[in-house]
Point group: C2
Chain length 238, copies 2
DNA sequence: TAGTGGTCTAGACCACTCG
DNA sequence: GAGTGGTCTAGACCACTAT
């Protein structure tokens, strides 16, 4: 672990346990550099993390204030470290099941070629999974992945976690994702599997997930029950 | 302007005009430091910006690759620099109108006190505005702001841009926002003003906007026509 | 004016990738 | 082994605040 990440974690812990109460000021960067026996640049990097995560707000000439974070305690999981739905629910201690609606191999169409930077000859998996949380329909997931990046995908893996397989078995590292979120009317699949009523809206998320080397490896559309899932995001400038 | 921001902008420009084509490698940080006559730390900071914005992907031991960005060209505006709907539409060159549905002063309830860090005695504005884009209903905005932070709010201002007033007249600087996005069924106001059909979903965004000093100054719920608005977000780790 | 955070430097060491 | 990016240092200068 880096120094600045360790220090950031320590400071977060001190904020959470009220060593640094909301509304008070953090010690100055110079003081913290002395305390932790590191250079001020390192402290600065740590505090930038805290700023972007909404723990503090730093102002030149004044100091670094501990922020009030009224939204944070809700059980909506932060999307800034996406590791798949399985990991998300594991953290919340909620049981998840996956039901395979469709699983086959195909060639990508033009849109898919563009999004996954593939040629027309490179095969992809087409996967439709119903994901249940607390034994109730949660979302319907239409996923496309290049076969060559994810060899030997099996029903067994699809019933559990694709992301576990990618990260732990294949050693692939996820860099992040691009998402587009919108509301939509339910289609026939939604009504059939998510048990949507005809007037129940659906929260649709189109998502591209990238590996650390820049390669996109997943292009998916998830259709979420409107009463089960919402998304949060935090955007703070320095 | 900072050195690292200028350099980041220059590099972005070079990527857009294909001086650095997609898939190629950026010159090494050492080379760029020589070219720009700055230290490598400064180049590193610039490249971190490009990474977080999805322009490049850097890998230790390998280099920094120019990324393909298939989603980017759409006319969905990036939410990472929120300055209000007026500014968003101005950039897209689309005309916006605002109709005041309700505008009065009140005391905050418990939830609002918590979100805006106010006491029960500090008054707030309650504003409901219908925003039209291209002369068609776009979203219905329920906004709450502390009176003391935004004195002398008038109908005139509400008909144009609150954010313009805040930033240009009051000199307040916006740090960013926290958002929660979900799908919902339309209520009576939505049907009346947004012209929603009973089975049209609504995209609801709860939003807290923060000033640079950490003070939250807006707590709003916007209800967006599902066929007009979607949200995008990009989350990339280094 | 004193103290703060933002930026920048010129080095350094290290982990990593690739041929 | 050569080259890459990630981190870190010990200092420096500057812009800003006085909540």
């Amino acid at each position: 672990m880096n120094k600045y990440e360790s220090i950031a974690n320590l400071l977060k812990q001190h904020i959470r346990d009220n060593t640094y109460p909301i509304g008070s000021l953090l010690p100055s960067q110079t003081d913290l550099a002395d305390q932790f026996q590191v250079s001020r640049m390192t402290i600065n990097k740590a505090i930038n993390i805290l700023t972007m995560e909404g723990f503090v707000s730093a102002q030149r000439g004044f100091g670094t204030k501990i922020m009030n974070r009224p939204f944070w305690n809700k059980n909506v999981s932060p999307v800034d470290q996406y590791n798949g739905l399985s990991a998300e629910m594991r953290q919340l201690n909620r049981p998840i099941e996956s039901q395979i609606i469709d699983f086959n191999v195909d060639f990508p169409d033009a849109d898919e070629q563009e999004h996954l930077t593939l040629t027309a000859q490179q095969p992809i998996y087409r996967i439709i999974r119903l994901r249940l949380v607390d034994h109730e329909p949660y979302l319907l997931e239409h996923t496309i992945m290049p076969v060559e990046l994810v060899p030997n995908l099996t029903d067994e893996i699809l019933h559990h976690s694709i992301y576990d397989y990618l990260q732990n078995k294949l050693g692939l590292q996820i860099a992040g994702a691009y998402r587009n979120i919108q509301a939509a009317k339910p289609d026939e699949l939604d009504m059939k599997y998510l048990k949507c009523q005809p007037d129940d809206p659906v929260l649709e998320v189109a998502q591209m997930v990238y590996l650390k080397n820049g390669q996109p490896f997943e292009y998916s559309h998830s259709r979420n029950r409107y009463d089960k899932r919402s998304f949060t995001e935090l955007n703070l400038r320095k």
